[in-house]
């Protein structure tokens, strides 16, 4: 086996395309999982059992079935009901939805960790419930959960290659395509491996910076 810099150079244009797709999937998947996870967490705290029960059942189901199965389901089954999205959109939705069932638990822990005295002070000041959430509880809860959410961003990054299974050309998809066409496997796979490490590292540095700014 010989390392061929020429193959690296040939692969790079495809690599940039794949990188863009991976970063898109990661960014949008993160946003969806952060927002949806918070929605689930809040719904799980409503007094109505008729809201909590279905939300609990659906999220439990999603959390305990493989992401790959969910990807296939959304990509191959939904079109039979005349619901079609592009492969990348489907992938982003699947990743965001899947991880939202994890982030909801992070949010729940963060909300539970806000001392009961904060709720009592808000009541004593007669703050409306909505304002208590938006001005007092959530700012404190979110601050606490940033490190844990960051871990899920890294986990999501490592799950983005699954999108290849529904024809999305992410970094791994591009690498595989290139390998099959050129019979050169080492170079493209090494390049994307290094890219994954660099993205993980950059993300963790960014998150640590964010953490430091938020901790008070």
């Amino acid at each position: 086996m010989q390392w061929d810099w020429g193959a690296v150079a040939d692969f790079m244009p495809h690599f940039w395309d794949g990188l863009l797709v991976t970063l898109q999937a990661l960014a949008l998947g993160s946003v969806i999982s952060f927002v949806l996870g918070l929605v689930w967490a809040l719904l799980m705290r409503t007094p109505s059992r008729f809201v909590r029960w279905p939300v609990g059942a659906v999220t439990e189901f999603i959390r305990n079935t493989p992401l790959l199965v969910q990807l296939f389901f959304l990509f191959y089954v939904l079109p039979e009901w005349n619901i079609t999205f592009s492969a990348l959109t489907t992938g982003v939705v699947a990743i965001g939805l899947h991880y939202s069932t994890y982030t909801m638990q992070v949010y729940r822990a963060g909300i539970d960790a806000v001392p009961v005295g904060q709720w009592e002070a808000a009541t004593a000041l007669n703050l409306p419930l909505r304002r208590t959430w938006t001005a007092v509880i959530l700012p404190q809860a979110v601050r606490r959960v940033v490190p844990a959410l960051g871990n899920y961003v890294i986990a999501m990054l490592k799950d983005t290659p699954l999108l290849m299974a529904i024809t999305v050309l992410d970094m791994l998809g591009e690498a595989r395509l290139f390998s099959q066409q050129n019979f050169q496997f080492t170079e493209p796979l090494t390049v994307i491996g290094v890219a994954f490490i660099l993205i993980s590292y950059l993300a963790s540095v960014l998150l640590r910076g964010l953490e430091r700014r938020l901790v008070r």
Binding site: G117, E120, T123, A124, L125, L127, V136
Partner: protein
């Protein structure tokens, strides 16, 4: 000196402001308040003393609507607080302010915003007006220079004084003080008590305190209520309760804490 106790329609001094009728509160099988009757007149400073677990703090928490009684009625300035609709509770709650043992300042807001948050969002005060009033109140509690500080940057005594200012900013008719110096380092207690003495002396606000600071109770109280096992076993002016208690339990209790 500003007037932190001023409110839109002050009750007539001496009229009944708070009334508990046959209030019972249980926690599981433990009956904390057992058919309690008691009332507080407007403008009075009333101190609740007694051993821990005798139900003193529960009274304040019931008044602040942090919990509901199992039986009985609670009335504040003629309006029923329990039983009552959520809307009515919100209305009555406007008349009541509370300072907690653990301060409970909002750590995500600076001092100024801790104080202005409720006047702006609940009373609909303009931001400028609320801030100006907050600065006056901070001046009153001796922390005029701490507007921009965050709670974690303050000592416990300073946090508690901000909490007092925050409660007063809502212009309550009643101020509930729940063991406000119990969580403080000993050297910080005096500063907080001085502020409260000042407020007691210069305003017409009604105060209801639970405290273990007997000297403070003696200084500010018009009336002292001795609690034991969910009942008021003795009440009277501080000179009487501290000087010549009638009940055996009161003598025992005071003997242990003084």
């Amino acid at each position: 000196m500003t007037d932190p106790g001023s409110h839109t329609n002050p009750p007539v001094d001496g009229s009944e402001l708070i009334r508990f009728d046959h209030v019972t509160k249980r926690f599981g099988s433990n009956t904390v308040l057992d058919g309690l009757d008691f009332s507080v007149d407007a403008g009075k400073h009333v101190t609740l003393i007694g051993p821990s677990g005798s139900g003193k703090t529960t009274i304040l928490r019931l008044l602040m609507t942090l919990m509901k009684p199992d039986e009985g009625t609670i009335t504040v300035a003629g309006d029923q607080l329990f039983p009552a609709s959520e809307k009515q509770v919100r209305e009555v709650r406007k008349k009541i302010g509370m300072v907690f043992q653990q301060f409970n300042l909002f750590p995500n807001m600076n001092v100024l915003r801790n104080i202005t948050e409720a006047p702006v969002t609940v009373l609909g005060m303009s931001k400028d007006e609320a801030e100006q009033r907050a600065r006056e109140l901070l001046d009153l509690v001796g922390l005029a220079d701490k507007c921009d500080a965050y709670p974690t940057q303050l000592s416990g005594g300073q946090q508690q004084r901000v909490a007092i200012a925050r409660a007063l900013a809502m212009r309550p008719q009643v101020l509930l003080l729940d063991e406000v110096t119990s969580a403080l380092d000993p050297e910080l207690v005096a500063g907080v008590l001085d502020v409260l003495r000042d407020i007691a002396r210069t305003t017409d606000i009604t105060m209801l305190c639970v405290t273990h600071e007997m000297n403070f109770a003696r200084d500010i109280s018009d009336q002292v209520l001795m609690f034991d096992s969910g009942h008021v076993i003795e009440s009277g002016p501080p000179e009487k309760i501290f000087g010549d208690p009638e009940h055996e339990r009161t003598r025992e209790f005071l003997g242990a804490v003084l």
